[in-house]
């Protein structure tokens, strides 16, 4: 919304504030004023329309002037335009047809006010009018159209002028019985209308139309745009001037459906005061008579079956004070409300209240008495004021939001409940950081990518109806593809790095037989995933693999999960499954190419009701006796998993075997034979009670050797 400072001064001659001071004040009492721009001798203040969504009365200069007056505690001196008695001489000649209006749908059109004006001279607008509409952002068309727009800018009531002769022609009646009539009704399926912008609009049912009464031909989209067929042009001499009120939701739905937003719909869709139509019409008649030689041809038609009355709201002063956090007396509250043209009557206090308090007493003590209740009468232009909280806002903003003393709520010191999911996320993020990974955020939307094999989710994706771009059409079900995308980009610049992302993805819930969307709430599952990528352009492949594996194992240990690799993988299909404590699959670890590894885990099953940050470590007693160490190297089939060998060693080694650590692995056909591998282990024997000797441990060692030979056909080296 734009507002002219000069016009403000006309309405408020006592306004002393500069345009910049008005900007500052309105910004803290109404809504942020974005800018002040000098335009010739005038200054134009701008408030974003969005910020006034709730204030349809402020989509006019007069409405904003009212707010300026309230903000500076001034009175508007000039009479409300259009509120003075019309006193126009009836001229002879011209059109004399009586206008007949019928409103079919009165909920969608609560008031229809119109009049016929004749003897008009359509011409380019005089300079003052041209400037007046242009300074507020509209295009000047001709004097008649500009006057309707000018009135809309001043008062906020959109008007429309139909060429009366064209309307009569549409009725199809013979010249003997000229007919001038309008019907307001909803569109029928398949109807069409060419609007003023030259577009042919296909109309849908429920769209409200203004039509020629006899033929039923649409002549305007109600409250949005007129039709081309009845457009006012240079040859127009008579018009039907419409000043109506249309229901907001229907207006908005129609304008959205057609993708047609106009100055009129901008106002109607917010919900206008029906009492405004007459003001707007009067003002326009006055101006058309003065500047276009128009005169009235008949009475004003006003179809207004259910008059909008002033609302009343009761507020309790104590509640108001408590809600805002101030200590205003009833009189101070009353004064503030007066500035907003809200009438207030202090209700007599109930007998139960102490008789010793009175309004006078309040004034002297500065305290408002409990039970002081105001009955308020709300002007009809304030359609946004409906409940006490709305009034509290009015009091607070005019008292001054910045005059409030910041306080803190009084509350119990009981510690807040822990969110174990949030804590786990942070714990894992720190663990990843410790391992040298950098956290990455990528979009939740993707283009669908073929990502078979290790995707944790096999179903289809959810799709957006109105995506920002085709690349951002699907809600992702996995994080890895996004991470691999970022890997490719960073690989252009870096030799090696490690990145991770932790976040929710969207898995559409499958609807099983007997289940309806409703019974599941219709909401998709949103598992929490962790994914990471290792990238190393030039690498020692074995070292690269075992380092990555060591890191993921370190992480998995923290979350009590483990890797379940399959032995003897070929280089390009290195892949392991990640399982949780219960043994179910929760993720994968895989080679992507020679220089990239990736893993992805679903963390949901790890979120317990207890705080994941609590201490779970249990101390292990350390033996004070020296250990006895043995090294053991075995040759086994390549397909034998190291884990199996370790298990055999542990099972056969007896209680004193406290640690088994594999340390040297190699494949060499010449020395070991085809399909064989050699693995060495450090074995540690230790007792809690006594110092062991090598000889004492030998028998256990022999048992291990025997078991390895029996179970794995192992050859013992050295």
């Amino acid at each position: 919304m734009l507002i002219s400072y000069n016009w403000l001064k006309q309405l408020l001659p006592s306004l002393k504030a500069t345009p910049y001071e008005v900007k500052e004040r309105l910004s803290v009492t109404l809504a942020e004023v974005g800018s002040v721009k000098k335009r010739g001798e005038d200054y134009i203040l701008e408030i974003e329309n969005k910020a006034l969504t709730h204030r349809p009365d402020c989509f006019s200069e007069y409405g904003l002037a009212r707010e300026v007056a309230a903000a500076f505690d001034l009175k508007i001196d000039a009479p409300l335009p259009g509120s003075n008695e019309l006193n126009l001489p009836k001229k002879k000649g011209g059109l004399t047809q009586e206008l007949k209006v019928k409103v079919v749908d009165q909920t969608l059109c609560p008031r229809y006010t119109a009049v016929v004006l004749t003897n008009l001279k359509v011409a380019p607008s005089p300079n003052w009018l041209k400037t007046a509409v242009e300074r507020l952002g509209l295009r000047s068309i001709n004097n008649v159209v500009d006057i309707t727009n000018y009135v809309m800018l001043q008062l906020g009531q959109p008007l429309h002028a139909f060429d009366a002769s064209k309307l009569i022609n549409l009725s199809g009646a013979r010249s003997k019985e000229l007919f001038l009539g309008i019907i307001v009704r909803s569109a029928k399926k398949g109807e069409r209308l060419i609007t003023l912008d030259g577009e042919e609009r296909r109309l849908a049912e429920d769209m409200l139309l203004i039509c020629e009464r006899k033929s039923g031909k649409p002549i305007a989209l109600a409250g949005i745009m007129g039709g081309e067929e009845t457009e006012v042009d240079n040859s127009t001499t008579a018009v039907v001037l419409e000043s109506a009120n249309f229901e907001a939701f229907n207006n908005r739905a129609t304008s959205r459906q057609l993708g047609l937003r106009t100055e009129a719909s901008l106002r109607f869709e917010k919900g206008l005061d029906p009492n405004l139509t007459m003001l707007g019409l009067n003002r326009a008649i006055e101006l058309l008579a003065k500047h276009c030689h128009g005169n009235l041809a008949g009475e004003i038609v006003d179809i207004y079956p259910q008059k909008a009355e002033s609302k009343t709201i009761s507020i309790d002063c104590l509640n108001a004070n408590q809600f805002i956090g101030v200590n205003l007396t009833a009189i101070e509250i009353q004064k503030i409300l007066n500035r907003l043209e809200i009438q207030s009557i202090l209700k007599p206090r109930t007998l139960a209240r102490s008789a010793s308090t009175s309004v006078a007493g309040e004034r002297s003590s500065g305290q408002v008495a409990a039970g002081s209740t105001f009955k308020l009468t709300i002007p009809t232009f304030r359609r946004d004021l409906n409940i006490p909280a709305d009034i509290y806002e009015e009091i607070a903003r005019l008292y001054g939001l910045n005059n409030l003393t910041p306080t803190l709520p009084k509350r119990s010191i009981k510690p807040a409940a822990v969110n174990s999911s949030y804590s786990l996320e942070q714990q894992i993020k720190y663990a990843m950081k410790e391992l040298g990974f950098t956290e990455v955020y990528t979009y939740s939307f993707t283009k669908v990518q073929p990502f078979s094999g290790f995707n944790l989710f096999q179903g289809s994706t959810l799709k957006l109806q109105n995506p920002i771009s085709p690349e951002l059409e699907h809600l992702r079900t996995t994080l890895t593809p996004s991470l691999l995308g970022k890997t490719r980009e960073n690989a252009k610049r870096l030799e090696g790095f490690k990145i991770f992302e932790l976040g929710k993805v969207t898995w559409p819930s499958e609807i099983r037989r007997g289940q309806t969307k409703k019974s599941r709430g219709g909401l998709p599952n949103e598992p929490l995933l962790l994914a990471a990528v290792w990238y190393q352009k030039e690498n020692d492949y074995q070292k690269f693999y075992y380092t990555a594996k060591g890191e993921i194992e370190m992480l998995l240990k923290k979350i009590k999960a483990k890797l379940k690799p399959t032995p003897n993988n070929s280089r390009h299909s290195l892949e392991a499954v990640i399982i949780n404590e219960q043994g179910s699959k929760i993720g994968f670890f895989t080679a992507i190419d020679d220089s990239t590894f990736a893993f992805e885990i679903k963390l949901d099953s790890l979120i317990k009701s207890t705080d994941p940050l609590q201490f779970t470590t249990k101390f292990q007693t350390i033996s004070l006796h020296p250990p006895v160490l043995f090294d053991l190297a075995v040759i086994v089939d390549e397909s034998t998993a190291v884990e199996e060998i370790i298990t055999t060693i542990q099972q056969s080694g007896g209680e004193l075997l406290v640690n088994v650590e594999p340390f040297d692995l190699y494949f060499d056909e010449k020395t070991l034979g085809k399909g064989k591998k050699s693995i060495a282990f450090h074995l540690t024997f230790q007792s809690m009670e006594e110092s062991l000797s090598e000889d004492g441990v030998k028998p256990f060692f022999q048992k291990i050797v025997q078991a390895l030979k029996n179970q794995h056909q192992a050859k013992i080296r050295g």
Binding site: V28, F323, P406, P409, K433, E434, P524
Partner: protein
């Protein structure tokens, strides 16, 4: 005392003798070993508490160790005095930079979120997390956005179908928070939000919010202002001037915008300030008193309780904290950006 202990002591001194590079250090080591309070001297003293049998075995061991170590000391002393160039170490240029360890980095928004969450947790707020996809009821209808209301245009929504959408704000959880238990209620909600917006240096279709909800008896607008002023001062670790402007959101009444003095120009030298654009103020927190209809929909009686809610844009807070000039860096995944943020 154990034989073990003697062995450890021996190993330790052997190593230290080996690494000693000056005669003075060597002398010091000798004192530490056999001086009045030396380690071996102490061991010998403690023998008196033991049985005769133990005394003799351990005594012998101590003696052995002493001979070995003194011998080593002597040899090293000789070597150092006679051949100062005997011990060769590679040359070091201490002015050459150290090798950078490979460290990890948390995303700047994560860092800022953690800091904000920590402050609110200290203030007694429970942490909640928003869904990514929610229904129209939770994102709009339960928040006093009547169906077809123009207020819905405030947020450009991405739709999955007539009912489901990626959330446009973390207020999508407000109804669930209100229903979670009887007031007093205090919770913050973290979430990733989405709007159908073209990206530019200050706009992103994907962004992060920290929503707050506080409900109790007699909660006031002044409490809301005080709570957020305290949070902001705690976050930026300084006293901040606050400005409050009226604002409109359907789910609050009244709605306000809390602005803080620009933390870069402090309302001085404003013209040139890129952050506040010369106004001296930065919009930080849209907030308001929860609308009675929203309380009612959440099963809270607005006659008894009142409350406030707010939403902090974590992306913006992060930009302010680190002086980031383009919001698009956050989802770029560019390590040149991400690896700048070390804690």
């Amino acid at each position: 005392m154990e034989a073990d202990q003697i062995l450890t002591l021996q190993k330790d001194f052997q190593a230290r003798i080996g690494s000693t590079l000056t005669p003075r250090e060597l002398q010091q080591l000798k004192t530490e070993l056999v001086g009045k309070k030396g380690a071996l001297t102490q061991l010998t003293k403690s023998l008196s508490k033991l049985s005769t049998k133990e005394k003799s075995t351990l005594g012998k061991k101590i003696n052995q160790t002493k001979q070995i170590l003194l011998g080593l000391l002597e040899i090293k002393e000789q070597a150092l005095t006679e051949h100062p160039g005997l011990i060769k170490l590679p040359k070091i240029d201490p002015t050459f930079p150290g090798i950078k360890p490979q460290t990890g980095h948390l995303h700047p928004i994560t860092q800022v979120t953690q800091r904000a969450v920590e402050i609110f947790q200290k203030m007694g707020f429970e942490v909640w997390q928003a869904r990514l996809v929610d229904d129209k009821y939770h994102n709009y209808l339960s928040l006093n956005f009547p169906e077809g209301h123009p207020a819905m245009d405030i947020m450009d929504t991405l739709w999955i179908n007539d009912n489901l959408l990626p959330i446009t704000h973390t207020s999508s959880m407000q109804n669930r928070v209100l229903r979670s238990k009887k007031p007093p209620l205090s919770a913050i909600v973290l979430g990733r939000c989405f709007r159908r917006e073209a990206t530019d240096p200050t706009h992103e279709h994907t962004f992060h919010q920290l929503e707050g909800v506080f409900v109790d008896e007699k909660v006031s607008l002044s409490d809301l202002i005080g709570t957020l002023k305290n949070f902001l001062e705690s976050f930026f670790e300084r006293e901040l001037k606050i400005k409050v402007q009226p604002s409109f959101f359907p789910f609050v009444e009244p709605g306000i915008e809390i602005m803080a003095e620009c933390i870069f120009c402090h309302r001085k030298s404003r013209q040139s300030c890129k952050t506040c654009g010369g106004s001296g103020w930065i919009e930080l927190v849209p907030a308001g008193m929860i609308h009675p209809n929203v309380l009612k929909d959440g099963g809270v009686d607005p006659k008894i309780y009142s409350g406030f809610a707010w939403a902090i844009g974590l992306d913006r807070l992060s930009m302010l904290t680190f002086g980031i000039d383009d919001i698009r860096w956050f989802h770029s995944g560019d390590l040149r950006f991400l690896q700048q943020f070390v804690i």
